[in-house]
Assembly symmetry: C2
Homo-oligomer: 153 residues x 2
Amino acid sequence: MISMRSKYALKALGYMARNPEKESFLIAEIAQAEGIPKKFLEAILLTLKNNGILSSRKGPGGGYAMAKAPATVTIGAIVRSFEGDLAPVQCLSETAHASCPECGDEDTCGIRLVMADVSQAVSSVLDTVTLADMLQRSEFERQKRQQVVDFAI
Amino acid sequence: MISMRSKYALKALGYMARNPEKESFLIAEIAQAEGIPKKFLEAILLTLKNNGILSSRKGPGGGYAMAKAPATVTIGAIVRSFEGDLAPVQCLSETAHASCPECGDEDTCGIRLVMADVSQAVSSVLDTVTLADMLQRSEFERQKRQQVVDFAI
DNA sequence: GCTAAGTCTAGTTTGAATATAGGATATAGC
DNA sequence: GCTATATCCTATATTCAAACTAGACTTAGC
């Protein structure tokens, strides 16, 4: 399960990417539009900024803006900002690399070997799909269903 | 991150599968051998029994035994006994299916679409690899490294 | 019926996730 | 330089699940 933080981040970034005509966004506006607690979103956007995904300006007329094009931001980069690396077991974490307590020999640990494959499988999805891809897929589904409704009428 | 429960379960089952000559195992024996808190392991083995992976007999001479051959038990079946289905977001969970709070339209939610791919990727690994496979890979790594040591000498 | 085992119920403890409050800091416009 | 606006930062509450423990109950073999 990914955290609310990650979900809120994806929703907030989705909102921003869907409105490319706007130069900057207020926290309060995004919070309102996407139904995210404002104070919580504050911390989330700050994290995204510190990870180079957003930029910000203080003061009147300020706000947040995308630091990169949506097509160059992977879902993996976003999620990892909050979940750390997505290691299914501690001993596979590169940041915070602590060998699993009691995992005898790390090199030959069967659990570790299998989980390395899992980690690889997850990354191959999340590091391939971009924010733009996500929105495009969503839009595609929306239109597909719209058509069905049209036919029904 | 998988829970300690899952890790302990994998270790316990690994121990049992590595000693096929034994007909049954005491909780205390497994706990000792694998360094698992005995009372905690108690609950874990019970869960594995309720999921059809282990069988048990009470009383003197009793204990736990594998209910199936290690080659027919997938890592997915073991892990899912403790983690539920491995849905990365609530709305993808089949048991406990509750739509994510605030996830507007579930059919067109981009987050859900991407996470469905992630879920699929994870399952394709965990439902393919069996307990026997895991031990075999571990043994293979062990021998590979053993050879390197031999050459070094 | 004694003892060795698993089974069940009910806790405790700890830590992380979610969220909020309130002030500090920066900047635009006058 | 004052004020309004907005982000930035620190601290704290709250809630919940994970990890683990205690102790009584049940079953089976001798």
